[in-house]
Symmetry: C2
Subunit: 215 residues, 2 copies
């Protein structure tokens, strides 16, 4: 069975809409209400749900609480998400201290670096040698990694993570990485984001009769 990333992202939007319905007093919901709230067709809702084994009752609709529980389970929101990080430089250290992750139930449990000067197993988030990444990931059963190493070290770091069993990587190194089939890599390219913004601002100033649209 082949699905696409968007169907998974829609599950999280259904979940958020369900919380809103619950807040205003709903207990049960039909797929067309949910479809309207998220801006898709009700056929799409049913298709997305059936893909992940969620079944409703054509007459009675879905029980909201049970549906939220099921979606949170599928999306992994029911448990604390343990994440490891490679590269304890400026950006990596900032991410370790980044409070907004905790609100979403995400916790960076360990960081790894090749620089012995950065190692400190006694910190709340220990900084360990990169060689220990594989055994740590295996013993702690972590599935998600963040790469904050310099671009020349990024591919090697990803390879180490994949070998350890990491299935999802958020990559901050400004380089396109070769991944394996069982590991999804999402790139956050801060330079490109900022560069594109500069392009927009500059281009608009050079052509002041041009107005920007999103599509």
């Amino acid at each position: 069975m082949v699905t696409n990333k968007n169907s998974i992202l829609r599950l999280s939007r259904y979940k958020n809409a369900l919380y809103r319905f619950k807040t205003i007093g709903f207990f049960k919901i039909f797929s067309d209400y949910l479809a309207d709230a998220v801006g898709v067709t009700s056929a799409q809702v049913r298709k997305d749900f059936s893909l992940f084994g969620i079944s409703g009752n054509k007459r009675g609709g879905y029980q909201i609480d049970a549906l939220i529980e099921k979606l949170n389970d599928i999306l992994g929101k029911n448990e604390l998400q343990k994440v490891i990080l490679a590269g304890a430089g400026n950006l990596g250290s900032a991410l370790i201290k980044y409070k907004s992750f905790e609100k979403e139930g995400i916790k960076i449990v360990a960081a790894f670096d090749i620089d012995p000067a950065k190692h400190n197993p006694k910190l709340p988030v220990p900084v360990l040698p990169l060689e220990e990444l594989e055994s740590f990931v295996k013993s702690h059963n972590t599935k998600i990694g963040i790469i904050c190493v310099p671009d020349i070290a990024a591919q090697h770091t990803l390879d180490v993570m994949i070998r350890a069993g990491i299935n999802g990587v958020l990559n901050f190194a400004p380089i396109q990485l070769k991944t394996a089939e069982n590991c999804i890599v999402s790139n956050v390219n801060l330079e490109t984001e900022l560069e594109n913004l500069i392009y927009f601002v500059n281009a608009l100033q050079k052509a002041p009769n041009v107005r920007l649209t999103d599509n």
Copy 2:
């Protein structure tokens, strides 16, 4: 005249392709070569160019050096891009030290914070009171800002930046901001990036017969 963000992003891809053509010895280029290199139609290339007042010669094509110069000028790559930052916490401080920006000709010239304990005008990148943002931006003619403040302070910070004359903002606060017509806001939502990745990994583990596609 209305244009879209993609046309500006294509200009940067044309520029990168032109550097490659130059490297392999080209001096002149026709729009269909450039179109092939970037994966668009030659009509699209000519349309994008005419939007920004770039004209070629139907017989002789475009002079590569002159075209690169013109594109860099439109995109603002010919000059150092001065950027200000609001919120000198962990993430803000990491961005100030982030080396990859410099490679792209981007320099954070000052940071602003409401916390007096963080103020230090003598640092290489001075940290100044937020109240000084407006006068700094006006006297240094900066157009780009980065927001790294907590989400509750983000809208106020954006309002201050807009009033100061900032036209483009990279926003790291996990909140949707209301902007003005003359200011583009790009959001980098690290929680959402990581959360989506966790969703993918979890959903795929819950439905192991599901395979992920990009579209």
